[in-house]
Amino acid sequence: MRTRQSSLALLAVLSLLTADIFAQDLTLPNKSGTLKFAVIGDSGTGDSNQYRLAKVFMDIRQKFPYEFVIMVGDNMYGSQSTQDYVKKFERPYKPALDQGIKFYAALGNHDQPNQAMYKLFNMGGKRFYTFRPRAGVRFFALDSNYMDKEQLDWLQKELEASGSDWKIPFFHHPLYSSGGTHGSDTALRDQLEPLFVKNSVDVVFSGHDHFYERIKPQKGIQYFVSGGAGKVRKGDLQDEGLMAKGFDAGYHFMLLEIDGDQMHFQVISDFGKTIDSGVILRNRNQSKTTPGAGDPAVVTVPKPIPAGAKPSTATKQP
């Protein structure tokens, strides 16, 4: 009984601490009229870690009212029964769902294909799809488990048709990653990167590796790995020159805000600490037909981490 009381007291203190941190910590502009969204990846464990992060994730919406969430796959691990949909998705994110926040999912390797028919994942019955939450910004959800000709042809067509919009693909397997367990999916990169470069993709979100990583811009594109909303693989970041910032010591989610040609980002851990933040500046005049040459099409400017926060750097564990 005493243990239970102590645990409750500890939880209460942590909640207060978290709330206090949020009060100080939001580095995003949080302007009215901007597009605000969030990213979670590898979330669907249904365990206490997912719920703990989800609580932080839900709470911060009072401060930063994100309009929708993108899920970069592994939305559900293990069994996917009726109860699992509740335990691993509906219950942890209930406050957001109740407020009408939309979740847009991509399929991970642990996700059954019929998740595409689940209305709350907003996939419209398709394993790959696109949506345009407002003028000037377009997202592309891809099924990186099965990148067949049908999907590649579709992506080429949709990217070409998206004009000068922000082009933001998201999918499970990262084209660039410093993960020791998975790492970069070079076979997938061979197929997707030429399309991304040719069609001036700006930012890409993936998961699969259970940590946060901001990759140094590659051929003018900013890649993020965000696979730590339900699982974490401590010590798995093994930087060999790709990493601009990484965090593999805890769980996290991302908050983003698009304001014209700027995309601001802030990454927050399960204890409410800011792991990384910055702004991606888009150069609309940059031609991406000569990748690797000249100025990059996106420039990512990190912001200083607020005092008190302690981002993890890549450390190789023995």
Binding site: S81, T82, K119, M147, A187
Partner: protein, 208 residues
């Protein structure tokens, strides 16, 4: 130039195959004994035709289902409709046998098609991509018409590998479990057919 030539050849071969089926049979008959240059194309065309027939059957069953699969916010309805379709498929294919799709000759041809994308350094990457996510063979029921286990991951199938094999219609997919290839109906969650040891020995990858 990564895999360009084999992929291109495979693509041309596959694209040409359906148009050649009738001609292939006629030409093969006219060929001197032992020479059948279009026999492989015919094999692939036969395979594709069987898949198309399966899809027609599956679609006709969908149309008759009392619990049609549709977008729903109710997970119970989502799962029950898929299970119902799977049961209909099993009933309609009660006579289906292993090897209906992957005949011995088709298996040999698939192994030949799978070899190029699995060779060299690119091949190693492709093998790692497959192994990384694939379930272990012991966790999958290798039975025609079996339900794919709902708590098992689905292997990634690298783009190079998909390009090398005959293209499948939407919802019908190639998947791997260990070294074995599965013809998988993603909509009904049914193992349509399978082919053992489709892949050469794979690198060991730590299971997550």
């Amino acid at each position: 130039m990564k895999n360009l030539l084999p992929s291109t050849l495979a693509t041309v071969w596959i694209l040409a195959a359906p148009a050649c089926v009738t001609d292939a049979a006629q030409q093969t008959a006219k060929m001197p004994e032992g020479i059948s240059i279009n026999a492989d194309a015919k094999l692939m065309a036969d395979f594709t035709a069987k898949v198309d027939d399966y899809l027609k059957l599956r679609k006709s069953l969908e149309g008759k289902s009392a619990v049609p699969i549709k977008n729903t916010a109710d997970p119970k309805e989502l799962l029950s409709s898929q299970k119902a379709l799977g049961a209909q498929v099993r009933a309609a294919r009660a006579a289906a046998r292993r090897g209906d799709f992957f005949t011995p000759a088709t298996q040999a041809q698939f192994r030949r098609l799978l070899a190029p994308p699995l060779k060299g350094s690119d091949g190693t990457e492709n093998k790692i991509a497959i192994t990384d996510d694939a379930p272990e063979a012991k966790d999958i029921p290798f039975q025609v018409n079996a339900e794919y286990p709902r708590d098992e991951s689905l292997s990634t199938v690298p783009p190079d590998v998909l390009r090398a094999l005959p293209q499948l219609p939407p919802d019908i997919q190639y998947r791997f479990a260990g070294r074995h290839l599965i013809l998988y109906d993603a909509k009904a969650n049914v193992i349509v057919d399978f082919m053992l040891n489709a892949l050469p020995p794979l690198p060991a990858v730590e299971k997550k």
